[in-house]
């Protein structure tokens, strides 16, 4: 389903070249839940940014259903983005829209009708457990609620894959457990999940495939879910 092929990203800075990713080769199958772990600066966020095409790789590509994401432009790129659900580390919620409108927006972008949207929004809000926050704006939500909203937004349009960048990074232990349980539940419903985290407890709890990144290189790919850092 997803194939990272010789993926390399080098940043040219005034201080010199920084290699964020170096020849990353990886395959993820449909319905898998894969955790990508690594210390800060290992290249996890760069991986997400290239996947969402916020950035372009220096070399190599990411193939999603045999289409190289890195070569897409304009309308085709936007169509591809609609097939992916992303939970960003900083949530990236729409501040001037309330919880319901944040969720509706994604469906509206895809072109779903109003009745179908209303039905799905209700269902997804129940799944993530913020159905009592429908009319609240992002600044009125707690960190955990924002994270749940971000997950709901990534989930609502039934994407083929959800990428979550440090989804427990800003949460307390209780909320982290809730969020990771949620991802497990979503994965059990058939959605492929790529979880980028440095939360050892979360990875241990999931007991799923773990890929370890260090200084932009894959140093481990453990099917039994062991965190080897």
């Amino acid at each position: 389903m997803i194939k990272f092929q010789n993926l390399t990203k080098i940043y040219n800075t005034q201080a010199g070249k920084i290699v964020a990713l170096s020849n990353v080769n990886l395959e993820i199958g449909k319905g898998e839940l894969v955790s990508v772990v690594g210390k800060s600066g290992a290249g996890k966020s760069t991986l997400v940014k290239i996947f969402t095409r916020e950035e372009k790789p220096s070399k190599g590509g990411i193939f999603f259903n045999d289409i190289n994401i890195c070569e897409l432009k304009g309308k085709k790129l936007q169509e591809m983005r609609r097939k992916i659900g992303v939970v960003h580390q900083d949530y990236k919620l729409l501040c001037d829209k309330n919880v319901e409108e944040n969720l509706c927006y994604i469906m509206q972008v895809v072109g779903v009708g109003d009745k179908a949207i209303a039905k799905d929004v209700k269902k997804v809000l129940e799944i993530v457990g913020i159905e009592n926050r429908v009319c609240h704006f992002p600044h009125e939500l707690s960190g955990g609620e924002k994270q749940r909203l971000a997950i709901a937004r990534a989930l609502i349009h039934r994407p083929e894959i959800i990428i979550a960048d440090e989804p427990t990074g800003n949460l307390d232990v209780y909320n982290s457990y809730e969020v990771i349980s949620l991802f497990k539940k979503i994965n059990e419903m058939g959605t492929t999940i790529l979880l980028l985290t440095h939360d050892k407890e979360a990875v241990d709890y999931l007991q799923k495939r773990v890929i370890t990144l260090d200084q932009g290189k894959i140093i481990g790919d453990d099917k039994k879910g062991r965190f080897i850092l």
Partner: protein, 303 residues
């Protein structure tokens, strides 16, 4: 398609209504555009009125010799009327009419009336009063009349006497027009810059939202559309608010302006040209707002 259009309208309205402080700031800046257009219009109208009034007061007269036949004088009038680019009107005044005009003008002045009685011979000459379309045309008309002098019917032409005044008027009117044009361009540039920068700042304040919308797959028009709707709403609101203020000022100042500018009636000018002014204000503000938001958002849509 219709659903997307409806959603774009809704998002535009939400953006306008929910960010009230920002909307008020933009409406205020667009109000400057409305005022600038009104000011340029007012300046042009007053300028044209004063120029026309001054030019109306200027003419040149051709006085005929006593023995000139009426046929010859009327022939010259017809020839003058063929100068369609220069001559606006030609009035023939016979000796008798000149006499009547003099009496009418000085009927209450004993000195003039007694002097007229004492003159044995009829002192008045038949003449043509010529009005040109603008003050710069008189020199051409004077040249034309000079060429007619050898025919022997012209006693004198008043142009040389009025030449200096006419030239002065021509100098003033052409400079007023130039100043108006340059001033208008200056104000327009200033207004364009202010509007563009205000809209740009508005877009910058929501750049994260634009980026997020882009990352979830929204098309450029799905993101830009609401900004265009907002620009239209800003434009309409600013025209309504600032035209109401402008109308209040006009009603309050109309009498004073009539006294100051030779009976210039702004209310009646606005009654006949108000629709065009309103149309120009709406078109300019919508155009400026839309283009500004289109250009300002382009950078963040490249993602």
């Amino acid at each position: 398609m219709f659903t997307s259009f409806k959603r774009i309208l809704k998002f535009g309205w939400q953006g306008f209504w929910r960010n009230k402080t920002l909307s008020l700031q933009v409406i205020f800046i667009m109000g400057v555009v409305v005022f600038a257009i009104s000011f340029i219009f007012l300046f042009e109208q007053i300028g044209n009125f004063l120029i026309t009034q001054s030019e109306e007061k200027v003419d040149i007269s051709v006085y005929f010799k006593k023995d000139a036949t009426e046929e010859a004088m009327l022939n010259l009038k017809q020839e003058l009327l063929t100068l369609t680019d220069q001559v606006k009107s030609v009035d023939y005044i016979s000796k008798k009419e000149a006499n009547e005009i003099f009496i009418e003008k000085h009927k209450d002045d004993k000195f003039y009336m007694e002097a007229l009685d004492q003159v044995q011979e009829d002192p008045f000459l038949a003449s043509l009063n010529i009005k040109a379309f603008s003050s710069d045309k008189y020199a051409f008309i004077d040249e034309f009349l000079k060429a007619k002098e050898p025919e022997g019917i012209i006693e004198k032409v008043s142009y040389s006497k009025n030449k200096e005044v006419i030239n002065q008027l021509f100098y003033i009117t052409s400079n007023v027009k130039k100043a108006g044009f340059v001033g208008g361009i200056g104000i327009a540039l200033l207004v364009i810059l202010i509007t563009f920068n205000t809209i740009k700042l508005t877009i910058i304040s929501i750049k994260d939202e634009i980026t997020t919308s882009r990352l979830v797959g929204a098309s450029s028009w799905f993101i830009r559309g609401p900004f265009l709707v907002q620009s239209i709403l800003y434009a309409i609101a600013s025209v309504i608010i600032f035209d109401a203020i402008f109308a209040g000022c006009v009603i309050f100042l109309n009498d004073k302006m009539q006294t100051l500018f030779l009976d210039f009636n702004l209310v009646s000018v606005l009654k006949s040209n108000g629709a065009y002014l309103l149309l120009a204000q709406i078109a300019c503000t919508i155009f400026l707002g839309s283009i500004s938001s289109f250009l300002a958002s382009r950078k963040y849509l490249k993602m």
